[in-house]
Symmetry: C2
Subunit: 558 residues, 2 copies
C-alpha cells in the first residue's frame, strides 16, 4: 500500500533545519522490480508492472493487484537452460499498454519465454490465453527494452531470441503479421534500447505524410573505428503505415532509417556517446516539439552527465533530406562506411508514403519499387548527424549518472513558457532544472528513493502535478514542486522555480498551479531571481545563487 | 641563488604535527621558464636553460650565469609577424647538450628564429657565432619539443617552420647535412613530442646491429576514425648510422618506423591515449631495460593518470618483426589504413644495417634497394601494438595529471632490486611509488613546488641522491628519500621505502645509501611492510596501509 515517507532537509542554504517533505511510497511485501509504469488519466490510475505482479493504484489509495507467475513447465525449461530460478526464471512485467476502455495489453519475460495477455479492468484479471511474446518483450529481464503503443498496435525494440543476440524493432497487431527489422549489423548492432514514442503528423500534415515511430538507443558504431567498441547514440524511425515490401523486404520495414544523435562539447573534444533515456516534449504546435535525452560518456567513471535537446525539425530534416552512408570494401577483407555519392533511387528510400507517391500509384509500401527497397535495405544509416539545439548540451552535471528524464512545459506568471527538466539518477536522486533564456539551472535536488537505489522509470502527471519513480523496491510519488517550503519572499523568489510565487498578503510561497492559488492576486515571481521585487523591509540576498537542496529521509509515518 | 625552503606535514597519519622537510630552491630575479635541465656528473654541476639565460649550478652553491637575449632585428621581425614582445619573441633555451669536455651545445627559440651556439665551460660564455637552429629547436616556446645527443650528434623532434605545422624528426651533426623525416601525415601527424633517448646495442649486439634512437610522442591517429581527432601514443625509431637513401629518400631517414603504445584497462574499455613523458630505465643487462611512460586520457577532465611500463624486447620485436599498415583508397575519395598482407621487400624496410645485409654488400643505407626504400616511405606505421608489461598499467592514480616521470632501480637490504617511480604533476606535487612483486604502491606524496606550478622537467641524480624539478619560476632540489622523518620503527617499516631502514641501536630511520649507513649493522627493512620485524615492546600497527604524505610550505629560511 501507499505510505507516507518524510524527508528533512540537511545542509541547505534555503530551508530551516527541520523541514519536512511529504512523499508517498508504494510497495508490497515480497514484490520487487517496479520498473514498468503506465499512467491513465482517464481512469485516474497508475498501473505498475513488477515481478510477477501488476498493480492498479488509484488516487483514492485503493490498490488492486493481479499476479502472473510463470508456469512450472516454463520454469523447468528455463532452469535447464542454465538460468537462475530465483532471479531470471521469473516473470518480469515489461509491457503495460492500454488497448481500449476495457483492457490492457501486458507482456512479461515469463522465464525467458516471453508471453503477452490481456488484462481486463473489470475484474482486474488476465484473460488467461497467453500469446507468444517473442519480438514484443525481451527474454532477459536485465536486457534493455522499450515499447510504445499507437492506435492499438505495439511497437517494440528488443531481442528476438533466447541469447539476446538478435536485436529487433518490431510491430505487432492482432490483425497483421509481425513486421520487423532485417537481421543485420548495418540495421542494428548490439543496441541498447532506451525509449520509443510516436510523433503524429496532425491534421495539416504536409503532403499527406504518415505518423512516425521513433526509437532511441545506443549501439556499437560501424562507421567509426576505435581501439575497442565505440558506442553511438542513435535515433531510428519507421512509418506507422508500413506494410513491408512485396518481394524485397517482405514483412520487414521498408521505412527503417537511423541517424547519429550528437551530444558533445566540441571545444573540449568530449563526447557524450551513451544515451540512457529520452523524453519527447510535444508542443501544442507540432514544430515546438523538442526531444530531450540524458547522456553519459563511455569512458568510464567520468561522472559527467549531460542533457541534450533536439528540435523535431532538425530530426525530420535529416531523415527526409540527409545523405546515406554505404559500406565499401577495402582490400578484399575490410569494410569502411563512407558517404554514398551516387544517384539515390526514387521514391526516396525509407520515406513514408505521401501524396506525391500516391500520384505515382504508390499507395502503400507494397507498391514501392525493388530498387528503392534494395537501397534502403543496404543503406539504413544516414550520414548527417542530428545536432542538439545550439550545438551543445543544455546541462552538464558532475558526479551524477542520470538514468531517466521527463520534461514539463509550464507557463509562469510572466506568460512565458519554461521547460522544467526532471532527471533521475542511479542513486535515487532527482534533479529539477529550469530552462531560462537558453540557460539551464538546477533549482532542486532531492533524495527521492530512500536507500539510494537507481531510478528505473520516471513518469510525470501534469494533472496530479506529480512525479512517479519506479525502482527495484517500490514506486515513489512526489509533487513536482515544494513551494510551501520557502518561508520568506527572498527564498521563494531565489528558488527561480516557475511553479512557485510569493503571496505578500498571506506571506506564503504558493504553487501557482494549485486551484487555491488561481484566485490569488499580487503574486510575486521572478525566474531571473530578482529579489528586489519582494516587499521592502526584509533582508535581501546580494546575489542569486543556484540552490541545490538535499533531502534525507528520517522517518516513516503511515 | 639556492635557498632553503621548509615544508611541514599536514594531516599525515605518519608524521608528527610539526615536521620539517628541507628542500633547496634556485631562481634568479627576473628569470623565468627553467624548463631545460642537464646534469653533468663529471663536472658535478646542474645546467639550467631558462628564458634568455643559462646557469651552471654547482654543489658548492656557486652559480655561474650566461645570458642570451634576442637581437633587436630578430625581435622586430618576430613582433611584425604578430607574436608578442613580452612572451613569444624572447629566447627560450630548449637545447642543452654536452658536446665534449670543453663545451655545451645550446639552442634557443630566439624570437621564432631558432639559433644554436656553443657555450664554453671555461669562461661560461657563448662562442658568439650562432648557427641556424631550424629543425634542431622549435620556433614556438610553447610547442612540444624533445632532443637527445648521442656521440656528439643532435637528434630532435620538433617543427621545421614558423607556423609549427611541419613536424620533423631530424639529426644534426656539424659534419653531415641534416637528415630528416618525410613531410607526410603518414610519417608524423600533428605530433606532440615528449621524449627521446638512445638505446645502445652494446658490445655483444646481436648480428652487428646499430644503436637506435627512440622518439616518444602523441599524434593524431590515421588508422582509427572517431567523432573528432583521436590521439594515439607512439614510439618511433631511427638507426644511428642512417645516411638516407641514394635516389629514394635522399637525406631522409631510411629507418624511420613507428608503432602504437598501448596503455589501457581493457576490462573497462578505458584508454590512456595521451603520453606526457617517458623515462627509459636502462638495466645493467640490456634486456632488463624498461620503458616507463605517464599517460592520461584525451577525454578531458577525467583526472586519471596512468604509468605503463614496456619491456625493451617487446618494443624491439614489434620493430623487427611487426606487420606493416598500408593506406588503401575507398570509393576514390576516402582512405583507410589496413594491415599490409602482401610480400614485404628484402632487406626488411626500416631495419638497421646488420651483418646479414653487409654480406649482401649493403654496408650502409645508401646501398639499400629502391624497393625497400619506397616501401618504408609508404608504410612507416606498424600494425602490431606495443603492449605494456602484464597488459595493464602499473599504476593508476585519481585526481592528478602526471607531467613528468623518472625511475631509479635500487637494491634494498633483501638484495632484491626495486623500481622506484617518481612522478611529477601539473600542480607541483611529486609522487614516489615502489614496484613490489608486480604491484605499485605510492609511498610518498610531497608538494615539491610551493605555489603548485606544473613540474616541467624532472631529473634524477643517483650520485647526489637528488631529484631536480624545473618549473616556470625556478628549480627545486629534493632528496630522493626522507628517512629521517620516521621516528619509530613501525613508521619506518610501514613506509615500505626501499631507501629507508630502521637502526634499532640508534633508534633512527636511516637512508641505506648514505655513506654513514654503510657501516651500520642489524638494520631492519621490510618492503612488504611487516612491522613484526620491529623490536618488541613497541606499539604495532595491525594493518599495512599505503601512506600518502602531504606537505605544505610554511616558511622560507635562507
Amino acid at each position: 500500500a501507499w505510505f507516507h515517507i518524510v524527508f528533512y532537509s540537511l545542509g541547505s542554504q534555503l530551508f530551516p533545519a527541520t523541514c519536512y517533505l511529504d512523499l508517498m511510497e508504494f510497495s508490497e511485501p515480497g514484490i520487487f522490480n517496479y520498473s514498468t509504469l503506465l499512467l491513465s488519466e482517464e481512469r485516474d490510475a497508475l498501473y505498475v508492472g513488477a515481478r510477477e505482479a501488476i498493480f492498479e493504484l488509484s488516487k483514492k489509495n485503493v490498490t488492486i493487484h493481479s499476479s502472473w507467475p510463470v508456469t512450472e513447465i516454463s520454469m523447468n525449461m528455463c532452469t535447464l537452460k542454465g538460468k537462475s530460478k530465483e532471479r531470471e526464471c521469473l516473470n518480469y512485467i515489461r509491457v503495460l499498454q492500454a488497448v481500449d476502455d476495457t483492457r490492457l495489453y501486458v507482456c512479461g519475460t515469463h522465464a525467458f519465454q516471453p508471453q503477452c495477455d490481456y488484462l481486463y479492468f473489470g475484474n482486474f484479471s488476465l484473460h488467461g490465453k497467453p500469446e507468444d511474446g517473442r519480438g514484443k518483450c525481451s527474454f532477459d529481464p536485465s536486457q534493455s527494452f522499450t515499447t510504445v503503443m499507437a492506435d492499438g498496435v505495439l511497437y517494440s525494440g528488443t531481442a528476438y531470441n533466447f541469447l539476446g543476440s538478435e536485436p529487433i524493432i518490431s510491430r505487432y497487431s492482432p490483425t497483421q503479421s509481425l513486421l520487423r527489422t532485417e537481421y543485420s549489423t548495418s540495421w542494428l548492432n548490439e543496441p541498447s534500447f532506451v525509449f520509443a514514442d510516436v510523433i503524429r503528423e496532425g491534421e495539416n500534415g504536409a503532403d499527406g505524410e504518415d505518423d512516425k515511430i521513433y526509437f532511441f538507443f545506443t549501439e556499437v558504431s560501424v562507421e567509426y573505428e576505435f581501439f575497442g567498441k565505440l558506442f553511438i547514440p542513435r535515433v531510428a524511425r519507421v512509418c506507422k503505415g508500413d506494410l513491408g515490401g512485396q518481394r524485397t523486404l517482405q514483412k520487414k520495414w521498408t521505412s527503417f532509417l537511423k541517424a547519429k544523435l550528437v551530444c558533445s562539447m566540441p571545444e573540449l573534444n568530449f563526447v557524450f556517446n551513451v544515451v540512457h533515456d529520452v523524453f519527447i516534449l510535444k508542443g501544442t504546435d507540432r514544430k515546438d516539439t523538442v526531444i530531450y535525452g540524458v547522456f553519459t560518456s563511455q569512458w568510464g567513471n567520468v561522472g559527467l552527465s549531460a542533457v541534450c535537446a533536439y528540435e523535431i525539425k532538425d530530426v525530420e530534416d535529416v531523415f527526409s533530406k540527409g545523405k546515406y552512408m554505404q559500406k565499401a570494401t577495402v582490400e578484399q577483407s575490410h569494410t569502411k562506411w563512407v558517404r554514398y555519392n551516387g544517384i539515390t533511387p526514387t521514391p526516396r528510400p525509407g520515406a513514408c508514403i505521401n501524396n506525391q507517391m500516391r500520384l505515382q500509384n504508390i499507395n502503400n509500401s507494397l507498391h514501392l519499387p525493388d530498387k528503392t527497397l534494395q537501397f534502403v535495405k543496404d543503406h539504413p544509416l544516414l550520414e548527417d548527424p542530428i545536432l542538439p539545439i545550439h550545438n551543445r548540451p543544455r546541462l552538464i552535471t558532475k558526479d551524477v549518472n542520470y538514468t531517466q528524464i521527463v520534461v514539463e512545459r509550464v507557463q509562469a506568471l510572466d506568460k512565458i513558457t519554461y521547460d522544467v527538466i526532471f532527471t533521475g539518477t542511479d542513486k535515487g536522486v532527482l534533479h529539477k532544472s529550469v530552462l531560462v533564456e537558453d540557460e539551464v539551472h538546477i533549482v532542486e535536488e532531492i533524495q527521492l528513493l530512500k536507500n539510494g537505489e537507481p531510478i528505473k522509470n520516471l513518469l510525470l502527471s501534469s494533472e496530479t502535478q506529480s512525479l512517479y519513480a519506479g525502482s527495484d523496491v517500490g514506486v515513489v510519488q512526489s509533487p513536482t514542486a515544494f513551494c510551501g517550503r520557502y518561508s520568506s519572499c527572498v527564498d521563494c523568489i531565489l528558488a527561480r522555480d516557475p511553479y512557485c510565487a510569493w503571496h505578500p498578503t498571506n506571506a506564503t510561497c504558493v504553487n501557482i498551479f494549485d486551484t487555491a492559488s488561481q484566485t490569488l492576486r499580487g503574486l510575486i515571481q521572478s525566474l531571473k531571481g530578482d529579489a528586489n521585487m519582494c516587499p521592502a523591509g526584509r533582508p535581501q540576498h546580494a546575489h542569486t545563487p543556484v540552490y541545490r537542496l538535499q533531502f534525507y529521509k528520517v522517518d516513516n509515518a503511515v
